[in-house]
């Protein structure tokens, strides 16, 4: 699918009055969601940054219908909305817009339940890699080594790969995306909206206060995550798993930028030694081999 940027919808769905931090990566994602599904989406948002930055009641800084829901409930609430719309003949998409804590941790049972049931929802996990709303505590999606308020010497465990876990549920659609590549995210949202059943998009979203970097560098850092191979863009579409550009060129390890370039811009990794970084590089390589093996194992759509 190709499209021209100047032909994208002009209507804005993230409007003045929202309370996001300067340089918030999540809001970039929300803008793209508005471009694709602004007139078709109803959002379930669990406790997260998104529940705060949408603006203060009775006003809102997001021009889409939003239901704020309990922390662990979003995938189930969206299921209820989707089933209600099916019965009432209402056209639209029940979309979850949830953080990594609400997805990978407290909401994981509801997420897995909805995936296994193949509930007709689009679930977007915007991953800023920690509990940013409560002041930067680790989640299971925080990468190894990262400083957070509850991992003061760096997280000792690896990052949970939620997108792969969702793909391995055998859902119709699961993908990764990054706010540095809005065209890719745009296309994936469009594709998800065409598919009946459970759709999951894992969106990588830098967070200036949480990752400790200059708010002007949000897109640059998101881009470096992909260019260094730390974040891999792929999609699992009805049984076929494949890499997406630009990650496709980074299969060749020599094309990747050194991981250090991604890490050095972020205060959360400032304490890492060269040995620590080596471990991270090895893990990234293992992840690549896993994704490539899966691409080989799932070569075509069912």
């Amino acid at each position: 699918m190709s499209f021209r940027l100047d032909q994208l919808p002009k209507k804005k769905y993230v409007v003045p009055g929202n309370a996001a931090c300067a340089g918030c990566g999540m809001m970039i994602g929300l803008k793209v969601l508005g471009m694709v599904l602004g007139e078709e989406a109803v959002l379930s948002i669990p406790a997260s940054c998104a529940s705060v930055v949408q603006g203060l009641a009775p006003k809102s800084g997001v021009a889409m219908p939003i239901l704020n829901v309990p922390f662990a409930s979003a995938a189930a609430v969206a299921t209820g909305i989707a089933e209600a719309y099916r019965m009432l003949g209402v056209k639209g998409h029940a979309v979850v817009w949830a953080g990594d804590g609400g997805t990978a941790d407290i909401g994981f049972a509801t997420l897995s339940g909805a995936a296994e049931r193949n509930s007709n929802i689009i679930y977007i996990m915007y991953d800023n890699e920690a509990y940013m709303n409560t002041g930067i505590q680790r989640s299971s999606s925080t990468p190894r080594g990262a400083w957070t308020a509850t991992t003061p010497v760096g997280k000792r465990e690896r990052k949970k790969d939620v997108a792969l876990l969702m793909a391995m549920h055998g859902v119709p659609y699961a993908a990764t995306a990054s706010i540095a590549y809005p065209q890719d995210f745009y296309r994936k949202l469009k594709r998800a909206s065409e598919i009946e059943g459970f759709k999951f998009i894992h969106l990588h979203v830098p967070c200036p206060p949480g990752w400790r970097y200059d708010p002007a560098k949000t897109v640059e850092i998101a881009k470096l995550a992909v260019e260094t191979g730390a974040w891999i863009l792929w999609e699992y579409d009805n049984g076929q798993l494949k890499l997406n550009p630009p990650s496709t060129i980074y299969v060749d390890k020599t094309k990747r930028k050194p991981l250090k370039e991604y890490l050095k811009l972020q205060g959360r990794f400032a304490h890492l030694t060269d040995d620590d970084i080596k471990i991270l590089e090895e893990e990234i390589e293992t992840k690549w081999q896993t994704v490539l093996a899966l691409a080989k194992a799932f070569p075509q759509r069912l």
Binding site: E39, E40, A41, V42, S44, S51, V52, Q54, G55, L56, A57, P58, K59, S60, V62, A63, M64, P65, I66, L67, N68, V69, P70, A72, S73, A75, A76, V77, A78, T79, G80, I81, E83, A84, Y85, R86, M87, L88, V90, K91, G92, H93, A94, A109, T110, S112, G113, E116, R117, S119
Partner: protein
């Protein structure tokens, strides 16, 4: 009017009533002794007898979340649970009430552990008492059916969720003949749900529900209206729902409470749930021996029938039975006491953990209470 009479368990009575209410979405997780409700409903849906979406969920928390989402999207939604299942739903249950989502739930009352115990107790459903739910307790299988049907009308008219308490095993697994009105009568009683209450939640119509308040007084006001004022309004809704049901179906229960042999009584028994039948039996026996005792059956725990309960002050002794226990006594005992200033109130905590408590036990303990052998709070095992 042709009236079908069918032998049904309490659980099947719930399932048939829920079916006749034509819900759009049902979500539930199995737990004893609720399970046969949702099994029956799943069967209705699979056989095409009920046009609804039956969502098999991975937990009770998800069950409540699914019906919450469905109700907020304008659908008629139903769930059922028991005991630990209800406790596992708890956060979503509060969220549902404070959103004024008109969900209907059957709570087949069961002991809370440890130890594991599947038998009857009322502590589970009573945990909803501060959450903003309307809470009713059935005495018979027939009333279980009638209350479940009425619950949809009450919940949707009051814009509050409603729980129907069905005593575990005592009602849920006991078979009684039940009169079910024809579907066309039910349809007349229960018009289609309005999708715009509490809000119209539709794509392309931006609205945010539940985001942070710009002024905490907005939230405070919302809580007062939802948790207190809406409950007071619901009293009228319940009485009207009972009257209309009487007109169309031919059965009335009298609203929030039922008075039983209260005329010229000196002492009154207060209770809720299935064991009220045993208590009535004991009242009859005591009456036949000249003890002037009557009974008030609390049909609705919420809204609490404070005005009716206050009338108990004219009696000498008020004996309140609780099939629940809290660190300060029984829930009903405390609430009845708070509405009275004159009468001597004896709170008897009995039948907890599913311990049998039949009409002979009522007979004996009522006697002990009115003859002042009991203190303010008594535990009977």
């Amino acid at each position: 009017m042709t009236v079908q009479k069918t032998a049904l368990t309490g659980n099947y009575a719930v399932a048939y009533a829920a079916k006749m209410a034509r819900p759009h979405v049902i979500a539930a997780y199995p737990i004893t002794p609720q399970t046969s409700i949702v099994e029956k409903l799943a069967e209705f849906v699979e056989k095409g007898e009920l046009n609804a979406r039956f969502v098999n969920v991975e937990s009770e928390f998800a069950a409540m979340s699914v019906v919450y989402g469905a109700a907020m999207a304008g659908a008629r939604a139903f769930t059922a649970t028991s005991s630990h299942g209800l406790l596992y739903m708890y956060e979503a249950a509060w969220w549902t009430a404070l959103s004024r989502a008109p969900v209907v739930m059957a709570v087949v009352t069961r002991t809370v552990g440890p130890p594991w115990n599947i038998h009857v107790e009322h502590n589970d459903i009573l945990t909803l008492r501060d959450a903003g739910w309307i809470i009713a307790m059935a005495e018979t299988v027939q009333e279980t059916f009638d209350l479940t049907l009425q619950a949809f009308r009450i919940a949707e008219s009051a814009a509050l969720p409603m729980a129907v308490g069905v005593d575990g095993f005592v009602l849920s697994h006991s078979t009684e003949p039940v009169e079910m009105p024809p579907q066309e009568v039910v349809d007349k009683y229960l018009p289609p749900r309005r999708p715009d209450v509490p809000i119209l939640f539709r794509p392309g119509k931006p609205v945010t529900f539940g985001n942070l308040p710009s002024d905490n007084r907005i939230h405070a006001r919302h809580k007062i209206v939802t948790v207190y004022e809406a409950q007071q309004e619901a009293k009228k809704v319940i009485i009207k729902a009972d009257e209309e049901y009487g007109k169309l179906v031919g059965r009335r229960y009298g609203g929030l409470v039922e008075w039983y042999r209260a005329e010229d009584a000196k002492h009154m028994v207060v209770c809720a749930g299935a064991w009220c039948s045993d208590a009535k039996h004991a009242v009859d026996s005591l009456r036949s021996r000249g003890v002037p005792v009557g009974l008030m059956r609390i049909r609705f725990i919420r809204p609490f029938p404070r005005e009716e309960v206050a009338k108990l002050d004219q009696y000498e002794t008020v004996v309140v039975y609780d099939r629940d226990i809290t660190p300060v006594g029984g829930v009903l005992g405390l609430e009845v006491k708070a509405a009275l200033s004159r009468a001597r109130v004896v709170n008897i905590i009995a039948g907890i953990a599913g311990v049998d408590f039949d009409s002979r036990h009522f007979y004996e303990t009522i006697q002990n209470a009115v003859e002042e052998r009991y203190k303010e709070l008594e535990f009977v095992v």
